[in-house]
Symmetry: C2
Subunit: 311 residues, 2 copies
């Protein structure tokens, strides 16, 4: 019976590492630097080395370790292979084989947003559920689909890439993906700031948002909490867009719960107020009572989800 597992969340700057109990307790968390030099060739050896050191430091028995789960910022297929991960300077990497050979432990790999979703299902906002859509509102919009407790990786490693759902025909700027009118362009922190800037430029109306040189998603929702009419209109526009998009995703996989995370979700429950109305008004009647929750694990979601994959 395994007692421990490792959860690794690889980012472009740091690699978050966690030692967890099989029951889901985060026993220890630490970080190492992501070395991008030479096409990121040191990343997996560095991960193996920090795991080896932790096993030695804690005097763990390898037989008691279920394995290593790892989240990667890029597409990962269900076999744990990465075709390309731009942020890590990687071409094709077979993570499961390479990290498995380096550590002698069982390895599972998945996309970082999908892994974070699994973490939230296990110990966060989706705890107690099996079928979940998670949407992460940060600089971009990430997502993860969990069905029957398992990540939907997708046949091109693009399962849950809901930030790139086409939701608008009127946006002329290009999205990071090269497309136009992606959900990410409206519902991310960046997108909300754009909505606010446009709203402020279009009127002379008083607004608390004008007290800030750089309007951010936080500026908007702080002003919403003060009853600011213009900020409320911006939040309404954001909520209409995200709520309608989630209403479509819901008729595809019909989840029990939708969990909203990422920096924007720090606005708190007020955020849900703007999203759930348009969701319920636009989804298929049997899906209307889908639950909504905010994410709970913050930046640790990836560590938890990665660990859960090997349990």
């Amino acid at each position: 019976m395994s007692k421990y597992c490792f959860g690794i969340d690889v980012g472009g700057t740091t690699i978050k590492c966690g030692l967890l109990s099989a029951a889901g307790e985060l026993l220890e968390a630490w970080e190492i630097r992501t070395r991008l030099e030479e096409n990121g060739r040191y990343i997996l050896p560095d991960v193996a080395e920090t795991i080896r050191k932790k096993i030695a430091e804690k005097n763990l028995d390898k037989d008691e370790i279920a394995g290593v789960g790892i989240g990667i910022p890029g597409p990962v297929n269900s076999a744990g292979e990465v075709p390309v991960a731009v942020n890590l300077h990687w071409g094709h990497v077979n993570i499961v084989k390479e990290l498995g050979d380096l550590t002698g432990l069982k390895v599972k790999a998945a996309n970082d947003a999908n892994v974070a979703a699994l973490g939230e299902l296990w110990q966060g906002g989706g705890a107690g559920y099996q079928d979940m859509i998670m949407v992460t509102l940060g600089t971009g919009v990430g997502g993860g689909i969990i069905l029957d407790g398992k990540i939907v990786a997708g046949s091109h490693g693009a399962g849950g890439e809901i930030g790139h759902a086409h939701v608008s025909d009127t946006i002329t700027e290009a999205c990071n993906c090269g497309g136009h009118g992606c959900l990410e362009q409206i519902a991310s922190a960046t997108g909300i700031a754009h909505l606010a800037q446009k709203a402020l430029a279009a009127t002379d109306e008083q607004s608390l948002m004008r007290n800030h040189k750089n309007v951010s998603a936080k500026t908007v929702f702080d002003a919403v909490k003060e009853g600011d009419a213009l900020a409320i209109r911006v939040a309404t526009e954001f909520g209409e867009c995200l709520g309608k998009a989630l209403a479509v995703f819901a008729v595809v996989v019909d989840p029990q719960i939708i969990v909203i995370g990422g920096g924007v979700s720090k606005a708190g429950p007020v955020l849900l107020d703007y999203v759930t109305g348009p969701f319920r008004a636009n989804t298929f009647p049997p899906c209307r009572d889908t639950e909504f929750a905010l994410a709970k694990l913050g930046n640790d979601a990836g560590i938890y989800g990665a660990a859960k994959m090997v349990l």
Copy 2:
């Protein structure tokens, strides 16, 4: 080792029945009437009776029968329970238990559109794949999501109800579901006929479609094949709508293949020409090479898919 299985596809008028080999050969197909009287209470006993007769007629050994799969026109959860099936006059029915008790065989139940999708994956347009979105363009728009070879039933039995994806904010007529702007209102046979009627009313332009008193989806695609300019514009409008919707569904579950079936798909490969362009132009780059195919099994898809559930 099981040699046989039964596939049952319950409709509002007839119940299609099939005896199949475990290898997927349809050995015999027949129909019985759907008796709706007394809240459809005779439906499952009638199914059990026709199976009993077939077993006797063919002198089959019950140990050689894998079971009975059954598709139902209504939501079915993953446990095989129907909360309500309006077309059968049913309230709550536990199909797996009731039909299992009546037949003494293993029973699996699912929504009819989902079952048809599984049939197409097994022996039809999606053969050889594991991850598929099927969209059925008939009087309405049905759908089914298959991941890892299994139906996504959904937590409210609404998995794959993609006909009720909200795709338009400008449609004022109500959809059958009570909503407004559902995919079904544009991309179904009925929806395409509406688009054509609107296009014809808006101009005096010559069109082969004017030779028909009642313009149907078939009228439109027959005219498209003759190079009719107005019909081509209608097909383009339909293709833009369906292609963009499928582009969104694809970033949720990232299938290997999208299969298009239903009466409208009888138009043939020309239909795909109008859908794949807008799909590829609007989906996330890794999903652009998703395969497309037409359904192959026609009205037998439900029998095949139902049988596959018990194998």
